[in-house]
């Protein structure tokens, strides 16, 4: 037997069988492996020098020399062998088992094994050694390993140094490293003779550890990929998200299983653009057609929300995001995701309802503080009405009746009646419990209404109200009653902050301006006791925190949540002099028009605000 023979056998034999046919079955490979084992002794011949000992490879290096042929054969052979097994998706232990058997067949008198390390890379997790006793893995599992002086060694407590069988006399090992140098495992070789390692072994070990690392990495990446795919599928299912693609020109549509589930169609139903239409809520259908027409022409990314009306009359809320791309032929294709957001929508509705109830509670509480003042506001015109009516009676009782004076008295009575009614009208809106309605409103107008409502109360508390309300402000989108509530809350807080002030005017400045960021900003500045620190101010916004004995401590928390639901901010600052200033700013109406349209369309907060603004 010589190298040439062996080389020829490689060409005609196993490598050809495995290489020529990428679809070689597991049985083919196993059969070749068995043949390889039978060839073992002859392979051993190849690398055995005349003295019967493994010859150093370096000594044989040179063109056409057997060692190089062997080396080339070895790599090609091992690669093909293990590569074939990897392609068949064989589990890692089977791959490593085959690798060890190859080694054992290649070099006579040796038994090889692969130790796989656990995540910590300090202990043996699993050992594969087909030529070693059956309890080999058990013997080594859990053994700790350590890296010392550049080479890998097993601990002195057990490990390969302690021979797993009587006839094994020597042991070498080499680390199996990943491409990035991370230690994946250890290749361990036992020899039946007592021999020191020769220069052959590093080269051999290098080849085998290289293939072992490929096998381990490949197996791991496939495992990771499968795991990732499984996780992704699970995540998509859990989040009720399906994916789709739509080739606009050919009309070809593909749906993931989840979309079939969301639309409640049987998988395999032929997909056309008309199919989803049969489920889309009739009210949303015109918008949907409009969107399809638009994106068909524009070819740009899109985001859309619509409802489904299911056969059982239940309603689903869907959120769609799609990305436009062009294939090699320049054909437009959309790839996107459809998410069933019904649960979130229901949760948001419940949250909004709770928030509205809490806001109402807080509003009623604030108004409670105004009761006396409101009674006063109504009693003033009532007093005038009584006086006028009494005068009127007297004019009519005269002889002759002074009809002209009586008429004037009645006219004044009517005016005062209207005035009393106005107070009640202003109040009714605030006491009313109703759903949030978004409309275009003037913040300074709302401020004036609140000032009018609370003026009596503020005056009674000897608060001097000064207002600087700009006239040319653009409108904001919002709920009038809720915004009134915020301003009322700030005014009453300012009043309370100045109750203990006797040495200076209890001045309150309410101002409304357009700021540099094109937002409408309303501030209420008091000359009250103020706050020791900015932290103390921030604490005021925490729910159920109050500095007042009668306070529930929800006013500012509610106010902040109202302002934030208007895409705005509410904050407090300490004044240079006395007191504090509470300010909120909300975007002007035009800035959020598109998002607002969405709110109206679905009655739910737009999910896409961040994209549109």
């Amino acid at each position: 037997m010589n190298a040439t023979n062996l080389c020829r056998r490689d060409d005609l034999g196993l490598t050809a069988a495995v290489r020529a046919n990428e679809h070689a079955s597991a049985d083919d490979v196993t059969a070749e492996l068995a043949r390889m084992e039978n060839l073992g002794p002859h392979l051993g011949d190849l690398v055995t020098a005349a003295d019967g000992k493994p010859a150093p490879l370096q000594a044989r290096q040179g063109p056409g020399e057997p060692a190089l042929v062997w080396s080339g054969f070895g790599i090609a052979y091992i690669d093909a062998m293990i590569g074939g097994l990897i392609q068949q998706g064989r589990p890692l232990p089977a791959l490593l088992n085959a690798l060890c058997r190859l080694f054992d067949a290649t070099v006579e008198g040796y038994s090889s094994s692969v130790l796989l390390l656990d995540r910590t890379r300090t202990r043996v997790q699993h050992a594969v050694g087909p030529g070693l006793p059956s309890n080999y893995s058990e013997l080594l599992e859990g053994q700790s390993v350590s890296c010392a002086s550049g080479g890998l060694q097993l601990d002195s407590n057990g490990g390969p140094a302690k021979a797993p069988a009587q006839d094994l006399k020597s042991c070498w090992s080499a680390p199996i490293l990943s491409l990035t140098g991370e230690m994946l495992g250890i290749f361990v070789v036992y020899e039946r003779a007592v021999n020191g390692p020769t220069s052959l072994y590093p080269a051999l070990l290098q080849q085998f550890t290289h293939v072992a690392s490929m096998a381990i990495e490949r197996s791991r990446s496939e495992h990771t990929l499968r795991r990732t795919e499984a996780l992704l599928a699970k995540a998509l299912h859990l989040s009720s998200t399906g994916s789709f693609s739509w080739r606009v020109d050919s009309g070809e549509i593909t749906w993931s299983d989840e979309i079939y589930r969301i639309f409640e169609f049987d998988p395999g139903v032929p997909l056309t653009l008309q199919l989803p239409c049969s489920r889309i809520h009739p009210d949303d259908l015109p918008r949907w057609y409009e969107m399809v027409d638009r994106i068909r022409n524009e070819g740009s990314d899109y985001e859309h929300e619509y409802r489904l009306l299911m056969p059982d009359h239940s309603v689903k809320y869907l959120h769609v995001v799609a990305h436009a791309c062009r294939d090699q032929d320049g054909q437009l294709e959309y790839v996107g995701a459809v998410q069933d957001v019904s649960q979130r929508k229901l949760a948001e509705e419940a949250l909004n309802k709770t928030r509205a109830e809490l806001a109402h509670l807080s509003r009623v509480q604030s108004l409670g503080a105004l009761t006396a003042s409101i009674a006063h506001e109504v009693n003033q015109p009532l007093c005038a009405i009584t006086n006028n009516a009494t005068s009127c009676l007297r004019y009519l009782a005269m002889d002759p009746p002074n009809v002209e004076r009586a008429r004037k008295a009645v006219q004044r009575t009517v005016q005062d009646g209207n005035r009393a009614a106005d107070v009640i009208t202003r109040l009714r809106a605030l006491f009313k419990k109703k759903d949030t309605t978004t409309e275009s409103v003037q913040l300074n107008e709302i401020a004036r209404e609140v000032i009018a409502l609370s003026f009596g109360e503020l005056r009674r508390s000897r608060v001097i109200v000064k207002s600087e309300l700009a006239d040319d402000l653009p409108p904001v989108f919002g709920d009038r009653v809720q915004l009134q509530q915020v301003i009322l809350n700030l005014l009453l807080n300012a009043r309370d902050a100045m109750t203990g002030v006797h040495d200076r005017p209890r001045q309150l400045l309410i101002s409304c301006v357009r700021d540099a960021d094109d937002r409408i900003r309303l501030s209420v500045r008091d000359a009250g006791v103020g706050f020791a620190s900015q932290q103390a101010l921030e604490k005021l916004f925490e729910p159920f925190y109050s500095t007042k004995s009668g306070g529930m401590g929800i006013g500012l928390a509610i106010s902040r949540s109202i302002v934030e639901s208007h895409h705005g901010k509410l904050w407090a600052t300490r004044n240079e002099g006395h007191g504090a200033t509470f300010t909120f700013s909300i975007p002007r109406a035009g800035a959020r028009a598109r998002a607002a349209c969405k709110v109206t369309a679905l009655g739910m907060p737009a999910l896409t605000d961040a994209i549109h603004t």
Partner: protein, 124 residues
Amino acid sequence: MTVTVSLVSLVDDDDSVRESLPELLSHLNFAVRSFTTAEEFLASDSADQTRCLILDVVLPGMSGPDLQRELKRRGQKIPIVFISGFTDETFRNEMLAQGAVEYLFKPFSEAALLTAINAALGVS
């Protein structure tokens, strides 16, 4: 029969009240002078002639009770009838304790007003 027309002064910042009440008082045969603020009243010469002061509680600047204290400080014993839209009994009692003849809650009847003014004028 000669009737002495007593001067009744009214201090109230509410336009409607300041418009309607003097008319009613004139039917009751009182001479009336109206003022929007306490300061205005003090600055006028009416303080010396007023036989009865009908005084609102909440006023811009000096309040009704402030004016009551100021008059006391100046030694001017003008009988005061408070009128207020605030229907606070405790506060009413407090003002009565401090010497007010009457404290009427708005709106009040002609009869109640007349009774109060008569009490202020010492007419039985």
